[in-house]
Symmetry: C2
Subunit: 247 residues, 2 copies
């Protein structure tokens, strides 16, 4: 608990009047040994469906904590419908991407394997844990879904055609703000952003992506951006110009 | 040198036809022991004034490297006139801010000490080194200036009144994209962004900032952002909507 901000925990369980929640060993340890909270103290719980609730620690011990729901403090409301599809990079930068993307409101994180991706395996549990912690701290009422890694081809195959896919293309494209002002993109109310690995997309990958009707190629300016910087920057611009920062 | 991208080094020395540059012990070590470059190989040099030059390693040894300029490959051109004023946070996040801000084109990094800033001392040498490395890798022809830390009051005192100061205010403000579309802000051709520490600005600091004619308060949406995320997000939105990502 920092700077007087209430401790917020994401849980799976249904949150209803009178419910008693067992938060599991890991969260119990966090409450007891990291935050040094004891019985009688309150935290906030959310599960992505039932709003936010104030809960009182009824009992806490080694590996367990039991929390009693007191009152609903916020109603559930719709959050951004924004997906981030990204070629994973080394661990620290993937951690960073999961944290920052959650703060910037993504609803889904989807790692993709591309021609120049050097990472063989993505720790999706770790990615989800980073995203959940950032969601808790950023005052969200949902946490991002983390999808299992797919090849670029499988991602394209599975892509819903009514969701604009904004391709951050370092070889060029429409300046991002202009691209996002297109009524077909703005009006959709949802989007996905896709960023490549440190080596960029291969030419045949770009050729394939550019041909798809739901893909809009965008440029992020004249400088070379690292993959994680590009993802964060594009998410911020989307939120500021189309998403929930607009009003 | 990754992915075939040329090694780029920032140097202080004047870059002119026929010049021979001694890059110093640290850079020599980097060229020899990290990149494993030897005599006869080429790198690119820039100094923020004389464009970019191709240089050949004439000689290299323990703690020294001598580079001969071959030809100018790019002319110097104006870059973004964008300052980032930020309350420093813990080391890893300050490192990150220096790196990402340089990628996103800031011309000046200025740490400020605010009421809730917990860091007592800023390692400006480390901040500059992070910014320089990111400038080298992002293909810039300049590096950000790093200014000595100042109190918020001293910063305000020294602020040039013809430079809009965009205050990222977590207590509320005009949505950032709308604020940046104001002709007085867009038309200035330069700006500064200011972000607070993890605990936010104190109320009297906000009151003081809001009264200044050159300050525009902006909101970065409904979620709580970490200080470093707010800085990077605001920089990206500025570049995308006013800066050099526009065309």
């Amino acid at each position: 608990m920092k700077d007087g901000i209430e401790t917020r925990l994401y849980v799976d369980a249904a949150l209803t009047d009178g419910a008693v929640i067992d938060v599991g060993a890991e969260r119990a340890h966090y409450l007891q040994s990291v935050l040094r909270l004891g019985a009688g103290e309150t935290v906030a719980l959310f599960n992505g469906r039932d709003g936010e609730w104030r809960a009182r620690i009824d009992g806490i011990g080694k590996g367990w904590a039991s929390l009693a729901l007191r009152e609903r403090t916020r109603d559930q409301r719709p959050e951004s419908d924004l997906w981030l599809v990204f070629a994973p990079i080394k661990r620290a930068r993937t951690d960073f991407t999961g944290q920052k993307a959650a703060e910037l409101g993504v609803s889904l994180l989807w790692p993709i394997m591309t021609r120049h991706t050097r990472i063989k395996r993505v720790n999706t549990g770790r990615l989800a844990a980073n995203a959940i912690e950032a969601a808790e701290q950023s005052d969200r009422l949902t946490v991002p879904e983390v999808r299992a890694p797919a090849t670029l081809a499988a991602m394209i195959e599975a892509w819903p055609e009514d969701r604009p896919l904004i391709l951050c293309d370092e070889t060029g494209g429409t300046p991002i703000a202009a691209a996002l002002s297109d009524p077909a993109v703005r009006g959709a109310g949802r989007a996905g952003l896709v960023t490549g690995p440190e080596g960029g997309f291969a030419q045949e990958e770009l050729d394939r992506l550019r041909k798809l009707a739901f893909v809009t190629r965008v440029s992020l300016g004249p400088r070379l951006l690292r993959a994680d910087t590009a993802a964060l920057a594009a998410l911020a611009v989307w939120q500021a110009t189309v998403g929930d920062w607009v009003s």
